[in-house]
């Protein structure tokens, strides 16, 4: 990349799908992006190289790994001014049949993992005198969804965390907001398809039927929202939840 980077960022869950699209967009916006995923793979290295960034392997549900990874980024590149908490784990099933340990793994990856990340990043962000944090929640954290109690609970928790930290941190110039994407064309939809007993293509069509716009979203459309929320001059968006979903939230029955 020939361009000049002006800020250091970290995007979790960035080996593929939405996280990879967000990393690419932030790089285009001048952010030197650390791309995180659970383990270092050729795929993660490939994303890092394509965005002119660097790999930050760590399991976000492991507090020790998160703090070590953030410390390493700060040593190598400086404090993190842009944090995008995108990593998520999802399994589906009826509440009473959902394996208890797996149910908690969803919550502890999505909700607790974000808590660990923000705690690890905040001291550096404070040293910078401000920063932008975007939490990728989900439409299902707003509306709920059958057979997704753990996922919906974790995402609704993230929305409340966003609102609270929005209020708590804005006075320090640290702006926390969320995006609640609707159904988006990412590899995560394979989980939905498997649960519904459909092919991925059938699942896409099934979801598109219920979306006023008539199609599912693209990862780049979510990444554009991240770009708005993390613009260096943007400090008026505080504790908000951008619902980028093709019109579903308030009309799906």
């Amino acid at each position: 990349m020939a361009q000049e980077f002006t800020r250091v960022g970290l995007v979790t869950g960035a080996a593929q799908g939405m996280g990879a699209a967000i990393a690419a967009r932030l790089a285009a916006d001048g952010v030197h992006v650390g791309v995180n995923d659970r383990v270092q793979t050729p795929q993660l290295l490939d994303v890092a190289s394509r965005v002119g960034g660097f790999p930050v392997p760590a399991d976000v549900s492991d507090r020790g790994q998160v703090f070590a990874a953030v410390a390493q980024v700060e040593r190598d590149h400086g404090p993190i001014g842009v944090l995008v908490c995108n990593a998520a784990y999802m399994t589906m099933g009826a509440l009473t049949e959902h394996d208890e340990a797996d149910w908690w793994k969803v919550v502890d990856t999505n909700l607790s993992g974000t808590f660990h990340l923000i705690q690890a990043v905040l001291p550096g962000m404070r040293r910078l005198g401000g920063g932008h944090i975007v939490i990728i929640a989900s439409e299902w954290g707003v509306t709920g969804w059958p057979r997704a109690t753990a996922y919906s609970a974790s995402k609704a928790g993230l929305i409340a965390l966003t609102k609270t930290l929005g209020r708590e941190l804005a006075r320090e110039g640290i702006y926390v907001n969320a995006i609640a994407p609707g159904v988006t064309d990412t590899p995560q939809l394979e989980v939905d398809a498997a649960d519904a007993g459909l092919s991925l293509e059938q699942m896409h069509a099934e979801y598109a039927k219920d979306i006023p716009l008539g199609r599912i979203g693209q990862p780049q459309e979510i990444a554009a929202g991240v770009s708005l929320l993390t613009h260096p001059d943007m400090g008026a968006l505080v504790g908000q939840v951008l619902q980028i979903n093709g019109g579903t939230t308030r009309c799906r029955v």
């Binding site: 613009h231 400090g235 008026a236 308030r250």
Partner: protein, 229 residues
């Protein structure tokens, strides 16, 4: 180049939106009570007057071509206890805000639907979501805009037209008088980001919705410093 019609373009949020869109490649027609500066075509009309709006929209089409986007920012503000809101004041508030949107839509939307493309951003207010002491008629008018936006959005999305809204918080514009309680230091100390919102921050959100918000339908984005979360 795409053509956007911006109402309330002579000052404040509308003015910031007009210049931001112009700087980013849009051809801007500005509609206001006074001629807007720095736009490709400046028209004067009271948005509460359907005939005047229709004439202005005709002039835009003749001068600049088909209208690709509409941003409605024209508005006025007054703060009154509910018992002191006169019927005239109530009527005017609804006709300017809800009527201003409706009057523009009724002449802009048919063409957008015929062409199968278009984007509308209505400027509403955080008071429509959070309410406020002394804001009954303003909040009612701005709230009605949100109801219209959300309903219309789902109705026209399948036909290629996106409708969304922006709900700013207290913003540093001429609409806020120098002695406005929202400029008061004590009030600002209660705002999470400790300041008024800048018009350019609203403009950035509007531009996002027009240029990149292709999956945003009936969404209300709130750049408000955190006053309503």
């Amino acid at each position: 180049m795409s053509v956007v019609l911006v109402t309330g373009a002579a000052s404040g949020i509308g003015g910031a939106v007009a210049s931001s869109l112009r700087d980013n490649g849009w051809t801007v027609a500005g509609l206001d009570l006074q001629p807007a500066a720095g736009v490709a075509l400046a028209l004067t009309a009271d948005v509460s007057d359907p005939a005047a709006v229709a004439a202005a929209v005709r002039a835009v089409r003749e001068g600049l071509g088909p209208i690709d986007a509409l941003v409605t920012a024209a508005g006025h503000y007054e703060m009154l206890p509910v018992s002191e809101i006169s019927p005239e004041s109530w009527h005017r508030m609804l006709r300017v805000h809800l009527g201003g949107l409706r009057n523009c839509l009724s002449v802009v939307l048919p063409d957008m639907l015929d062409r199968g493309r278009g984007s509308v951003v209505a400027v509403t207010s955080e008071l429509a979501i959070g309410g406020g002491d002394g804001d009954a008629h303003y909040a009612a008018a701005k709230g009605a805009i949100i109801g219209l936006v959300r309903s219309l959005a789902t109705e026209v999305a399948p036909r290629g037209v996106r409708v969304n809204a922006v709900a700013p918080g207290p913003t540093d514009t001429p609409l806020l008088s120098p002695d406005s309680p929202w400029r008061d230091r004590e009030f600002l100390a209660t705002v999470p980001n400790r300041r008024l919102t800048r018009p350019d921050e609203i403009a950035a959100v509007v531009r996002f919705l027009l240029d990149e918000g292709n999956f945003c339908i009936g969404e209300v984005i709130s750049p408000n410093g955190g006053v309503v979360i």
